[in-house]
């Protein structure tokens, strides 16, 4: 095995399959009613985004501006059992924890923990021994009835008993030797476990797979690039380019159960920086696609970055919300895209309502009649170097608060020089490189999704650059809180309406995970990971 030799020796004594380790005598009783998945989270956090909208908005109000000054650390769980992983010297919690029936589920690559939500004590741990794949992050598990679903770096969907961590079944859905790797959390919709994939080193096509939650049987596959006979092939020079066109699906999508649609953001086109071999818009990479969750059939798409050559990797969450526009109730979807555009769409049709830059950018010559940005060819990576923006957002969760009507995103403003390193007519892989130049500033923005304008902004002071690889996620509440952090180890709570800082605490690392909240035993908790530690906060008696 060419791609796994390096680890075979290291793991010669390890079991080939993963193993559950019980670390507590306490036996939990988790049983998640599937009809509760996707509903507004109050006493649980049952799916990656809390509910299907990805608003990351909580109706809970026990913690509020009047008492937030008393917010205190309830417990901390620090990962001590896992040392350096390939490419990751220390564990970093990049998941969104789930909490059901008093049990929290957290992950890092190759490992799942069930923790007692009241104490932070571990109940069980599941360890996987990977045979390849990147260990860049793990976004969390999905839960259905008494089963936990976990994705491994080498693309196994693993079903675990939610109460014991015992492996029930596993299914391999992509080849790590072709540089597919998995970091995502599955999305459960009805009887579908929907799984996305990452990996853009070798020009492979992205896809979504849907599996049966009981048997693991494959129900459907949707490819991110068109196959033979599809009209969308006209956006590629030929079928081979489309077959190798990328469009990974590595962040969980959102869902409107009434419309029976899932909304998935698709990643960057391949070859990544060298676009000369793939003239055309390159559908459906760099897009938001609406699919039927029962069949995987495409209902509509909106391409946020046609013919991307900057790794704009359109994977930030498409948030669903309803608003009255010009006197008419509208079902909307908004995304603060990595290419610097804020996009609000009608989520029934995919028609654009707002498409507007939310960071200073100059790579676009305006919008097409469909509202899609038109790239300026001079801004493509070149042999001599081309200045363009860094990713304006990333995988870290944005939020929407129905009470303020504002969309919140921790954006990044900065520039990079992009070089073309493969100027041949048939480039492959990345074919180029990008390097940040000058300051990169993280700016918390509260954007009106009906205009694209910021109602308020908070630039975090920082004499070092804002890292785009890791940044604070956002949670907002009905009590006018916006919970997030900076890049200097401070957890920060702002007022959601005005952006005033209400509270902060310095931690041992910068916040790195999704932020969740729930009510347990009459107490509201706020939970997030920072580096190798998971923190639980509440109001002391």
């Amino acid at each position: 095995m060419r791609l796994s030799m390096g680890w075979c020796a290291a793991f010669a004594l390890a079991a080939l399959a993963g193993a559950a380790i019980a670390v507590s005598q306490v036996s939990p009783h988790v049983m998640l009613d599937p009809s509760a998945i996707g509903k507004a989270p109050t006493t649980s956090w049952a799916t990656f985004n809390g509910d299907y909208t990805a608003q990351r908005y909580s109706r809970l109000t026990q913690i509020k501006p009047a008492n937030v000054g008393r917010l205190a650390r309830h417990w901390v769980y620090k990962i001590t059992e896992v040392g350096a992983q390939r490419g990751a010297p220390v564990p970093v919690i990049k998941c969104t924890p789930l909490m059901v029936a008093g049990v929290l589920y957290i992950t890092i690559p190759d490992h799942v923990w069930a923790l007692d939500a009241r104490t932070g004590d571990p109940l069980w741990r599941y360890d996987w021994v990977d045979r390849g794949g990147h260990l860049v992050g793990q976004r969390g598990v999905a839960l259905w009835k008494t089963t936990v679903y976990f994705l491994t770096p080498d693309n196994w969907l693993i079903a675990l008993d939610a109460n014991t961590g015992k492996e029930l079944w596993k299914k391999n859905y992509a080849d790590a030797r072709k540089q597919y790797f998995s970091t995502s959390a599955p999305l459960i919709v009805k009887n579908h476990v929907i799984v996305g994939v990452g990996g853009d080193a070798m020009d492979m096509p992205g896809f979504l797979d849907s599996f049966d939650p009981v048997t693991g049987e494959l129900q459907w596959t949707w490819w991110s690039t068109p196959r033979k006979g599809d009209a969308a092939l006209a956006t590629w020079p030929n079928e081979a380019a489309s077959d190798h066109g990328g469009g990974m699906t590595w962040m969980p999508g959102t869902c409107d159960p009434e419309l029976n649609l899932i909304y998935w953001p698709t990643g960057n086109t391949n070859p990544v920086f060298a676009g000369q071999g793939r003239p055309g818009a390159n559908l459906w990479t760099e897009a938001i696609v609406a699919l039927d969750p029962d069949t995987g059939k495409l209902k509509w798409y909106f391409q946020v970055s046609p013919h991307d050559t900057h790794d704009f990797d359109n994977t930030t969450a498409p948030i669903l919300f309803d608003r009255v526009v010009d006197g008419k109730p509208r079902k909307l979807l908004a995304q603060a895209a990595r290419n610097g555009y804020f996009v609000t769409l009608d989520r029934i049709t995919g028609e654009h309502v707002v498409v507007k830059p939310f960071v200073p950018l100059d790579w676009s010559a305006g919008l097409s009649p469909q509202g899609e940005p038109i790239p300026i060819p001079d801004k493509d990576p070149t042999v001599g170097g081309s200045i363009n923006i860094v990713n304006a957002s990333n995988w870290e969760a944005p939020a929407y608060n129905p009470k303020t009507g504002l969309f919140y995103v921790n954006s990044v403003e900065g520039k990079a020089i992009y070089y073309l390193t493969d100027s041949s007519a048939q480039p492959s892989g990345y074919g180029g490189t990008g390097a940040g130049i000058g300051p990169a500033t993280r700016v918390l923005q509260a954007i009106d999704p009906l205009t694209g304008n910021a109602a308020w902004r908070h630039a975090y002071p920082n004499l070092n650059n804002a890292p785009s690889t890791l940044g604070p996620s956002i949670l907002t509440t009905a009590s006018n809180l916006l919970i997030t952090g900076d890049d200097q180890k401070n957890a920060i709570i702002f007022s959601a309406d005005k952006g005033q800082i209400l509270w902060h605490r310095e931690l041992s690392a910068s916040e790195s995970s999704g932020i969740i909240t729930y009510m347990l035993d009459g107490k509201q908790y706020i939970i997030f990971g920072a580096g190798d530690s998971l923190y639980a906060w509440s109001l002391p008696r």
Partner: protein, 286 residues
């Protein structure tokens, strides 16, 4: 309120720096600063990326060079000169190639060929020749998939005379002409020169350091070189080398000054042509 809004805060945010950090592009998390790669040799960077990506053992470059000649004569017609496909399939993502390490599978495969799909057998070649072809194919995969091994091409694409004119028009209000003497010799490569003039590394250069003056509520002030600023604290080193970490309580004001502010403004408006031209010009100042 405990945290009034500081007007000076914006100035500090704008002063955010990237002190010579190397950077690289990464799957999923995009173009990013990656300080860990800063001090690596190209070979170390390639090896680290190979390990991170799980690309397996390093191809034998000497064998690949020998195999390349055989490949070009016997295989390139169908599979393309870089094995990226022509009338035949791309071999970059071929299972036969990816399952092999150093020819232990590919040698037998090539000897037999795949006659059912029109690929001839290479039965007359020696094991050593077939192994060299295998190494050549592994090197083609490496050159695509290992972005840590990528090299910028000849970036000197600009017009030096136009670059000279740009420097005269835009740079001399701050810089003396001597500032550019021998600048073409100060960097390892033209891309480092380009990076270095667009956004000079501050390093230990006191003249490039961000400075700040902090005024306490009682009116006392401290000035010095700012080493970090957040919403809640500023850290600075005063003229005698003493470090001060000052909490930004209400009434504390902070004024920052960034000597590279003009370069930041330039980055936001610099055209690619001007950048290439200036680099071409400065590269002549040996």
């Amino acid at each position: 309120m405990r945290y009034p809004v500081f007007l000076a805060l914006l100035a500090c945010a704008l002063a955010a720096i990237m002190a010579g950090h190397a950077a690289r592009a990464g799957a999923q998390e995009g173009v990013q600063p990656q300080p860990a790669y800063q001090n690596m040799t190209p070979e170390q960077r390639a090896a680290a990326t190979r390990a991170f990506l799980g690309l397996g053992p390093e191809p034998d470059k000497a064998a690949a060079a020998r195999g390349g000649a055989i490949y070009l004569a016997s295989c390139a017609f169908c599979h393309g000169p870089q094995a990226r496909g022509a009338t035949g399939a791309s071999l970059i993502t071929s299972d036969e190639v990816l399952l092999d390490d150093h020819g232990e599978r590919l040698v037998a495969f090539l000897r037999r060929g795949r006659p059912e799909k029109g690929m001839p057998a290479f039965a007359t070649m020696t094991d050593a020749e077939l192994k060299d072809i295998a190494e050549f194919l592994h090197l083609q995969v490496e050159e695509v998939a290992n972005r840590g091994a990528y090299r910028v091409l000849n970036i000197l694409v600009g017009n030096a005379a136009n670059g000279h004119a740009y420097v005269d028009a835009h740079c001399m209000s701050c810089h003396a002409a001597e500032a550019f003497a021998h600048i073409g010799n100060r960097y390892r490569s033209p891309d480092q020169l380009q990076r270095g003039w667009v956004w000079p590394a501050r390093g230990g250069d006191a003249a490039l350091a961000v400075t700040a003056t902090v005024k306490a509520a009682d009116g006392a002030t401290i000035s010095g070189r700012a080493t970090q600023v957040s919403d809640f604290r500023i850290t600075l080193v005063d003229s005698v080398g003493q470090t001060h970490a000052i909490d930004r309580w209400p009434g504390v004001t902070v004024q920052c000054n960034d000597p590279l502010a003009a370069h930041q403004q330039m980055i936001n408006t610099l055209t690619n042509d001007d950048m290439h031209n200036v680099t071409a010009y400065l590269n002549t100042l040996k």
